[in-house]
């Protein structure tokens, strides 16, 4: 399953595994938000450019795989909202997404989301890549304000404290900060080796610019952060 491209914010692409082990042709899944008050048409997820990293996980622990989508470039304050399409998902091409609001981190906005059982307690936790800038909340609240504080990028962990059903996340706990001038574009949690250790592969970039042909280019790398212990 792959996220949508920058011109479509309400779609993910699905590649099912066939019985022979190969991947089937792409299927496109569309979301829609629940119907608004009577008379209103169902909305599709916002028109803003989206980086929708989809996750297949049993979000509410009912035994069915659910689809959880993060929108890292949200609209009208929707950045701290995940969209959960409850399973079972088999055979469906249009899904109804339910909003799941996360606890916001002060002076930060999410760049990317990851789902993993980070502390190994059997419950799905959330990891979030953050763009941090002191004073940014005040600027957002008042467009006449400005801040010249430096921007930094970090990954934090939101521990799932729920004993049953859908997650209940604690406040964000910092895991790592990127060294400047690198920016954090995305990440994924991977199994690192024996004992179920989880590592993080991060996508970083810097120095965005236009080349001689007028196209954008950037220095980009993938880094592996191995967890200690």
């Amino acid at each position: 399953m792959s996220g949508s491209n920058c011109c479509r914010s309400d779609m993910v692409h699905l590649f099912l595994r066939k019985n022979d082990g190969s991947l089937a042709a792409r299927q496109d899944l569309l979301f829609k938000l629940p119907v608004k008050p009577p008379g209103a048409e169902p909305d599709y997820l916002g028109l803003a450019r989206a980086v929708t990293h989809p996750h297949l996980v049993d979000w509410n622990r009912d035994g069915h795989t659910d689809l959880v989508v993060g929108h890292s470039e949200g609209w009208a304050g929707g950045e701290w909202t995940l969209y959960v399409c409850a399973g079972p998902l088999a055979g469906k091409t249009e899904l109804t997404a339910k909003a799941f609001v996360l606890p916001a981190v002060p002076d930060a906005r999410p760049v990317y989301f990851g789902v993993a059982d980070w502390d190994g307690d059997g419950k799905v936790d959330l990891l979030v890549a953050l763009r941090c800038q002191k004073g940014s909340d005040a600027v957002r609240a008042d467009p006449l304000k400005q801040t010249d504080e430096p921007v930094s990028y970090a990954i934090s962990w939101l521990r799932n404290t729920a004993t049953k059903g859908e997650p209940k996340f604690a406040a964000a706990s910092p895991l790592l900060t990127l060294p400047a001038p690198w920016e954090l574009d995305g990440f994924t949690v991977v199994e690192g080796g024996k004992g179920g250790r989880l590592d993080i592969v991060v996508s970083v970039s810097k120095n965005i610019r236009r080349n001689m042909e007028g196209n954008y280019c950037v220095d980009s790398q993938l880094w592996l952060y191995r967890r200690k212990g």
Partner: protein
């Protein structure tokens, strides 16, 4: 054909040289909790920003690497090592085997 509901994982691809080296940490990291210094796995500058995922794409029991890029063509780095010590082959484009995997033209 009836499709088994074993869903493939996220795909995003990037090309480039897969190597391991210490990352260029231009300033000392702080608030780094419980991690070794980062290692560079891939330099993908020719493909723009990178969005990685890991899954067994070819069904051989080994976890491969998939990376997305700005061009909408997903690249697959097949693991020719082991899961404990992965060694990634030169990338191929997923749409070479699954043409519909080319999402560069998918629009709203």
């Amino acid at each position: 054909m009836r499709l088994r509901l074993s869903i493939a994982l996220v795909l995003i691809a990037i090309g480039g040289t897969v190597r391991h080296a210490l990352a260029d940490t231009s300033s000392p990291p702080d608030r780094q909790t419980g991690f070794d210094d980062p290692e560079v796995m891939l330099d993908g500058s020719e493909h723009g920003r990178l969005y990685p995922a890991f899954a067994d794409i070819d069904g051989d029991g080994k976890i491969d690497m998939l990376v997305g890029n700005w061009h909408g063509r997903l690249l697959v780095f097949r693991n020719k090592g082991t899961n404990a010590r992965p060694e990634y082959a030169k990338p191929i484009r997923l749409d070479e085997t699954i043409p519909s995997a080319n999402i560069s033209g998918v629009q709203g």
